[in-house]
Amino acid sequence: MSNSERRILVAEDNAALASVVRFNLERAGFQVTVAYNGRLAWEAVQEDDFDLIVTDQQMPEMTGCEFCEKLRTLDAYRDKPVIMLTAKGMELELPRLKAELGIAATFLKPFSPKEIVTAVEDHLEAVSEPVSP
């Protein structure tokens, strides 16, 4: 499956950051949808089927973790990779997030967009490998 068939949801309240992440992911060939807060992201996943989700932790109306918890209640998203962006590295521990919410990776702001793209590609391959012949 090529990148162009992959649908990615970016949940980020900071428009500029959402925009640059979107730009980089689109440049890598993915189809990107942006939601500007947790609630909008939750609405988006219910309407559409995304292959991977990049979400900010601190967002109005619903935090990244809350969104993630809800996401895992949906059958379609039980095992979908989620990459979390955060400005508060200290209080978010990756092992706990991985264990409880199945977060695939966390990125502490400021992060490199290139690394995000690489991480997205890696996790999509990891998910798709068992399915491929």
């Binding site: 900071n14 500029a16 640059v20 400005a87 502490l108 702001k109 400021p110």
Partner: protein, 607 residues
């Protein structure tokens, strides 16, 4: 009896003694005088009678020798008369009275009287008692030419003691009155000499019975003499020492009282609660702060006698979970934090327990407990943590944008000029945002240090308010808020620190924008009066609860309202706005209802 005698003063006692002995001596003298006089008188009488008898004998012998008919009767009567004799007689050789002064006895036989007989040459003396009279009788032989013619007898009664007393009494003035007079004079002299000693005596008696010497009131004597001077000197030095001592004692007492009172005052004025418990864990001392922290009625007495657990309001189960009450650790110092109550009444106490040791290695005699209310400190800590969290977010977010855009720019050869421009612009905006936040941080640190200063200058108010609106407009538009601005047609000249007022107003409007839901309403109105600029910022946002209103200007304070929590913020905006307006001698007031909206009214005096 003794007690009564004790009351008699010394001079009187001395005088009485003196008088008593003197009188006895005078009496003795008087009696002696009587007897001495009597013996002298008797001796004289004897000598006189002896010589008279010799004279009478000679006359009688002459009469017998010269006369044929001697008139012996006449002679004896004359002799008796001349010397007031008891009697005078002439006894012939036949032992009969040939003549006798008592005529009826003439011719009668002379009976020799029984008595003490002594001889004085030829003269025989007989001393005898007849009735109440002591009689001395003397006889001498009368020699005639024919031999012994007979014996001449003369007798006289000794003077009686009564007679002697009467004799002495006749000289009483000399014998008794003179000594008496001298004795009385002696009394006065003695009294005068002794009276200063009386004062000493009574003071010495006081000294004998007083519990301490300090209680004795020694007084100087108003008299002269070396002994008085000596006594007065002793008294003076004693009084000086006493005064010094009592002064020392009073000073000591005062200092002790002061110290005692002071240490109590010190303990009571400490903000920390201090209590002492004995070996059984029973509170034996607590200061005011301890009572205020723990006792329901804030009375120290209601804590005393209770166990520490009860004083802290813990049940045995809660207490056993605390290291403070672990018996294995009683010998060591332990400090713990304890949360009490819920919600608004929630209290965080820091409790430290230190064992009291009377000496090294001794078993502990009890515990000293110190309790501090660290609720405010905890809140402040939480607020600071929150701020650090928020500050980190505020710093990282623009930084993330800058890095992401810069990296994207540097990697992308395929970017069109338009996109490059847009990216650079974003980098610029984010850098500005970062700079502004750093400015805020610096302002806060200035506020913390109290060194936030104003740089006032003439301001074009119209332009300033336009700038504020320009800065906030995009934020309003993003949330589709109905942003209403009402400005006066004309502005007066005034002096302000334009930059700081600008920041304060942006903060107020920024809050209105941040905490008003999409599609809400914000009104920004400026009114000019004679003396001040009145700026109102009204929103239809989440509002502020009544409990939180007093704290909104606290640094780092952020509402616990979830609608506020989900929006990032530093808790510094309002604090800064308040500070800036206060520095301009203005005022910032707020009216708010939860869920309905908030109105901030800032007033700045015209200069």
């Amino acid at each position: 009896m003794l007690a009564r005698s004790v009351k008699v003063e010394l001079p009187r006692r001395v005088v009485v003694c003196y008088l008593l002995y003197s009188l006895v001596a005078i009496l003795w003298l008087a009696v002696s005088a009587v007897f001495v006089t009597k013996s002298i008188v008797v001796r004289n009488m004897e000598d006189e009678l002896l010589s008279y008898l010799q004279h009478a004998s000679t006359l009688t012998a002459l009469e017998i020798a010269s006369q044929d008919d001697p008139q012996l009767q006449t002679l004896v009567e004359r002799f008796s008369r001349e010397r007031s004799l008891l009697f005078c007689a002439f006894v012939s050789n036949d032992n009969s009275y040939e003549a006798h002064s008592r005529k009826r006895l003439v011719g009668k036989t002379h009976d020799a009287e029984n008595g003490i007989t002594t001889r004085h040459g030829d003269i025989e003396a007989v001393r005898y008692t007849s009735g109440s009279l002591k009689i001395r009788e003397y006889n001498a032989s009368i020699h005639a030419p024919t031999g012994i013619a007979g014996r001449l007898i003369i007798a006289k009664a000794e003077p009686s003691t009564g007679e002697m007393t009467r004799m002495v009494t006749r000289h009483a003035f000399v014998v008794v009155c003179c000594p008496l007079l001298l004795v009385v004079l002696g009394c006065f002299t003695l009294h005068r000499l002794v009276s200063p000693m009386a004062s000493v005596d009574s003071q010495l008696r006081q000294a004998a019975i007083a519990p301490t010497l300090a209680d004795v009131e020694l007084s100087p004597i108003k008299s002269r003499g070396p002994n008085v001077l000596g006594w007065n000197r002793i008294v003076r030095e004693f009084q000086e020492e006493n005064t010094q001592n009592s002064l020392d004692q009073r000073l000591g007492d005062a200092v002790r009282t002061l110290r005692q009172g002071k240490s109590d005052d010190i303990l009571n004025s400490l903000p920390e609660g201090i209590a002492v418990s004995d070996q059984d864990g029973i509170i034996t001392f607590a200061n005011q702060s301890m009572a205020a922290l723990l006792a329901a009625d804030a009375q120290v007495d209601s804590l005393l006698g209770k166990s520490v657990e009860v004083g802290l309001g813990l049940n045995s189960e809660q207490a056993s979970g605390l290291a403070l009450f672990d018996p294995d650790r009683f010998a060591r110092q332990v400090a713990e934090e304890l949360e009490r109550g819920d919600g608004e009444a929630k209290q965080v106490l820091r409790i430290a327990r230190t064992p009291i040791r009377t000496s090294e290695n001794a078993t502990c005699a009890g515990q000293v407990w110190t309790v501090r209310d660290i609720t405010q400190q905890k809140l402040a800590d939480a607020m600071r943590d929150q701020f650090l969290d928020n500050a980190t977010h505020e710093l990282r977010t623009p930084l993330a944008n800058i890095k992401a855009y810069a990296e994207t720019l540097s990697m992308g050869d395929d970017l069109d000029v338009e996109s490059q421009k847009e990216f650079c612009n974003t980098i610029n905006v984010e850098a500005t945002r970062l700079a502004r936040f750093i400015d805020d941080l610096l302002s806060v640190s200035s506020m913390e240090a109290g060194s936030l200063t104003l740089h006032k200058q003439g301001v074009d108010l119209d332009r300033m308010f336009s700038e504020v609106v320009g800065k906030i407009k995009s934020q309003m538009d993003k949330k589709q808020l109905d942003f209403e601005t009402i400005f006066p047609a004309k502005y007066p000249q005034t002096k302000l620190d334009k930059d700081k007022v600008n920041v304060a107003l942006v903060n107020l409007l920024g809050n209105a924008a941040k905490y008003t839901p999409d599609g809400g309403r914000v009104r920004f109105e400026v009114k000019i009066t004679d003396r001040e600029i009145r700026i109102e910022v009204e929103d239809s946002g989440v509002g502020i609860s009544e409990e939180e209103l007093p704290r909104i200007y606290d640094k780092f304070f952020r509402s616990s309202n979830p609608s506020v929590q989900q929006v990032t913020g530093t808790g510094l905006g309002l604090s800064m706005a308040h500070e800036v307006i206060k520095l301009h001698n203005g005022d910032l007031t707020v009216q708010s209802a939860l869920g309905e909206g908030t109105t901030f009214i800032a007033t700045l005096p015209l200069e």
